[in-house]
């Protein structure tokens, strides 16, 4: 069982709720994924379309909401959004996201660290979206992050876990859960992160823009479970040297000289 800030999650797949074709497809995909944690964003109400409300399709009784601070370009903006998120959700869960460059959407490590420290002091349960930087991961834990969320590759790119060598170090050193976030484009990417020992993965685009988002959500659920089971079972060491799967000793070798 995955525990973050004292809350237990049986599913290790977190879903983002962006870019679905409709609220009903989103709700069906979330149900098919068996996830218990969903991310949401905060935006100004569209005053020309006041009925457009995601909360009609999703209940906070069923899912832990993890509001993000997307759109924040620095710590100050992220902190303002965090307080709005807490007022909207009535809970302290927060995915901290500080992305100054709209082209790459890469997280600002310095502003992320500053905001994490401040928000933890303000009583938030902070899960920072971060570069796959092992030293930064330690510093975020030092200031009280409840989990760390290193990126696999840039948001929405479906490139997979390009940061695997660094994510492995982050996992090895972690004192809090590690959630691989961003760039996971296929169930195999999710399985790979879980096989490495990630505690969970967060997936959005790969599911929401799939031809059949509901089926894709189910595929991700299986991949995450398979990857986790493999990690717990204990993966074999990688090696450059071949190691025979079949027995090398046996009676046939005397008769079949070429096998000797």
């Amino acid at each position: 069982m995955l525990t973050i800030a004292g809350t237990e999650f049986s599913s290790r797949l977190f879903l983002g709720t962006g870019k679905f074709s409709s609220p009903s497809v989103m709700a069906e995909a979330i149900a098919a994924s068996d996830c218990q944690m969903v991310t949401v964003a905060l935006r100004r109400v569209d005053l020309d379309n006041p009925d457009d409300d995601i909360m009609k399709a999703l209940s906070q009784r069923e899912y832990t909401f993890l509001p993000n601070t997307s759109g924040a370009r620095n710590a100050e903006e992220a902190i303002r959004l965090a307080h709005l998120a807490r007022a909207a959700s009535g809970s302290s869960w927060l995915k901290l996201e500080v992305t100054p460059d709209p082209r790459t959407l890469l997280p600002d490590p310095i502003e992320t660290l500053l905001a994490t420290e401040k928000l933890v002091k303000d009583g938030f349960i902070v899960l920072p979206y971060m570069n796959a930087d092992p030293i930064l991961a330690l510093k975020l834990q030092d200031v009280g992050a409840a989990a760390v969320m290193p990126l696999g590759s840039p948001i929405g790119t479906n490139q997979g876990v390009l940061s695997d060598a660094m994510v492995e170090i982050i996992i090895e050193q972690a004192r809090v859960p590690v959630v691989v976030d961003a760039g996971i484009g296929a169930p195999s990417h999710a399985a790979y992160a879980m096989e490495m020992g990630a505690d969970a993965v967060l997936v959005n685009t790969a599911i929401s823009i799939a031809g059949d988002p509901v089926a894709m959500a189910a595929a991700f659920a299986k991949a995450v479970e398979a990857g986790r089971t493999a990690f717990v079972a204990g993966m074999g060491q990688r090696s450059k040297q071949a190691s025979a799967s079949s027995p090398v000793d046996g009676t046939l070798s005397s008769d079949l000289g070429f096998l000797a």
């Binding site: 870019k19 935006r43 100004r44 006041p50 909360m55």
Partner: protein, 66 residues
């Protein structure tokens, strides 16, 4: 009365409180968060918080996001 609502200046008649504003916009109070001049107003205070000329009001809600 003119207020800046979600970044745009708008003119309202016969509105004095945040409750009045939400009602005129046909927004259910439980579905949004209101910031008045960068201070979050708790729902319990919507009916007692009065608006003034040139106030900056932000009305925010959750949307889909990753």
């Amino acid at each position: 009365m003119n207020i800046t609502l979600n970044g745009n200046t708008k003119s309202f008649q016969e509105i004095s409180t945040i409750s009045d504003l939400l009602h005129s916009l046909e927004l259910s109070p439980g579905t949004v968060v209101v910031e008045l001049n960068t201070t979050i107003i708790q729902p319990d205070f919507y009916s007692s918080t009065t608006l003034a000329e040139s106030d900056q009001v932000e009305i925010i809600r959750f949307v889909g996001g990753g």
